[in-house]
């Protein structure tokens, strides 16, 4: 069986700067991989290339054996990839409900632009409300999302990923800016609702949070992968300690 995700030799340059330099990464079906590295080491670039937001200069990206490098974002996403954003991306002027519904627009037939049957509307509403109930956000369904707290916004992003029901989940610093208690809560939500049955890559600076979710870690530094393996082994690696913890960035 093909790996859920297989990246080989992924390279991307910005002008004279090589942001990613021949990265290889593999995620097995159902596996969660933690991705760490100092700021600017290329973690988010991996996500941007993976989702087709930026084009790769070289290398291949295979999703369940299928080459996706060079496809437009919308196509890639419809093959079963969903992501969250480090600096949160929600539709501020739309309600929470509409934000979640957004994840379902692409998969729906074009004709539903004009006419969505009563049954389909009800089914969609039930699904979205059930999802909101998981996060205790039912009461906020019809509030515009610019009124949400940071915690609620993070939860909304995760709910949105779940609404798209992807095979591969990409989480970009899901616990950034949160207190210890909030970090624990969001970690638990991710572990119980989002990760089961899906493959995932999680970027996070909070190592304890990350190792609780991901049994395996990969480390990037200056656009290269410098370590990859079981979390405990990677964290003991001298090179990793030197490049990452030595820099004092955590």
């Amino acid at each position: 069986m093909a790996a859920a995700l297989e990246i080989t030799g992924l390279t991307r340059r910005f002008g004279g700067l090589t942001a990613l330099d021949g990265i290889d990464l593999t995620v097995e079906p159902g596996e969660s991989l933690g991705l760490i590295g100092p700021n600017g080491s290329g973690k988010t670039s991996v996500f941007n290339l993976l989702t087709g937001h930026l084009a790769a200069d070289a290398g291949s990206i295979r999703l369940s054996g299928r080459e996706i490098a060079g496809l437009p974002s919308a196509r890639i996403v419809r093959l079963g990839v969903a992501r969250t954003f480090q600096n949160l991306r929600v539709l501020k002027r739309l309600t929470v409900y509409e934000n979640l519904r957004a994840a379902r627009h692409a998969a729906a037939p074009a004709l539903e632009s004009l006419w969505q049957s009563r049954a389909a509307r009800r089914a969609e509403r039930d699904a979205v409300m059930a999802l909101l109930a998981l996060f205790g956000l039912e009461d906020r369904a019809h509030d515009t999302s610019d009124s949400l707290t940071l915690m609620e916004l993070r939860e909304l992003e995760i709910a949105r990923v779940m609404a798209a029901d992807p095979a591969l989940v990409l989480l970009d610093e899901p616990a950034a800016g949160m207190t210890a208690a909030e970090t624990d809560r969001i970690g638990e939500t991710i572990a119980t609702h989002l990760l089961p049955g899906r493959s995932a890559i999680v970027i996070e600076h909070k190592i304890r949070f990350l190792t609780a979710l991901c049994p395996r870690l990969a480390v990037l530094n200056a656009g290269r992968k410098i370590a990859d393996g079981p979390s405990s082994a990677v964290l003991d690696d001298a090179a990793v300690r030197d490049s990452y913890f030595g820099s004092g960035s955590c």
Partner: protein
């Protein structure tokens, strides 16, 4: 062949005026990242102030020039407050719509105060026509070209050599960065606006003095020419704005000669349309614009 050369000269001459207008647009757009639709009407206020002085007291060139500049800057300050300073930072659309509304307001106000079809503006008729062999050149145009060149150099020096210039450049890179590094964003934006209006006033004065008469129709004309020249140049470079103006002038002059007035219009707009599609970063395109376009193209 002589025709082509003569057209080129004429085109470069009027192109310098377009370049000056584009300079003002570019300065405002570069700093605010928003379009000032009322730019042409601020200039209109200026030249009508000049025409009024001329009609009232038959004042000399220098007071009229001063009145033109003052009128343009005052009108621009009014626009800056209402349409830019008092509208939230993320509402670029609102600024554009608001400045358009003020355009209408200013233009209609002028049309009300000056009900005739056109008004006399003092022209430099003391200057003789220059003859270069078979070629003819109006000295006003040389003045325009030189003014444009001098202003570009002066602006460049101001932007690169002065503290204020550094603040303007920081602001044009990022509003947030400017605020964090202690730039008084509101003040710098306001002054930039006034400088742009002054440049526009100079351009308006030269254009009006070349024609010897003005009408309220000039507002739309100024806006169109300035906008087009700015876009041809690729937004955001001052030298580019001047080049954009010259290119526009050249194309217009040649097309006018060979294809007539309607041919000129069709050619200019068709070229603009095609140029935007094929060369969206403009003639003097910058790498960051190319990168931004890459991101857009992939969606």
């Amino acid at each position: 062949m002589i025709d082509v050369v003569q057209n080129t000269l004429d085109g470069l001459a009027i192109g310098s005026a377009y370049g000056l207008l584009a300079l003002g647009f570019t300065l405002i757009f570069g700093v605010m990242r928003r379009l000032n639709m009322a730019f042409g009407s601020s200039i209109l206020v200026g030249i009508f102030a000049g025409a009024w002085l001329h009609g009232q007291w038959a004042a000399g060139m220098i007071p009229i020039f001063a009145a033109t500049l003052a009128g343009a800057v005052l009108a621009a300050a009014y626009v800056e407050r209402l349409s830019f300073a008092w509208i939230r930072g993320d509402a670029a659309l609102a600024s554009m719509a608001s400045s358009f509304a003020l355009w209408m307001q200013l233009e209609d106000g002028i049309a009300r105060a000056f009900p005739q079809r056109s008004y006399a503006f003092p022209s430099f008729d003391i200057l003789p026509l220059l003859e270069l062999g078979p070629l003819l050149l109006r000295p006003e145009f040389i003045a325009m070209f030189l003014t444009a060149a001098v202003l570009v150099v002066a602006l460049h020096l101001m932007l690169t050599r002065t503290v204020f210039g550094l603040q303007v450049r920081t602001l044009s890179e990022s509003r947030e960065a400017a605020r964090v590094s202690g730039v008084n964003v509101g003040r710098v934006a306001f002054l930039t606006f006034c400088i742009a209006a002054a440049i526009g006033g100079v351009a308006g004065f030269l254009i009006a003095a070349t024609d010897g008469q003005i009408s309220t129709k000039l507002g739309l004309w100024i806006t169109m020419k300035g906008l087009i020249a700015m876009v041809i140049s690729g937004l955001g470079s001052l030298r580019g704005a001047l080049i954009g103006g010259l290119v526009l002038g050249l194309v217009e002059a040649q097309a006018q000669w060979y294809l007539g007035a309607s041919g000129r219009e069709i050619t200019v707009f068709a070229l603009l349309f095609v140029a935007l599609i094929l060369l969206p970063q403009g003639l003097a395109g910058r790498a960051d614009a190319a990168a931004r376009n890459e991101a857009l193209r992939r969606l």
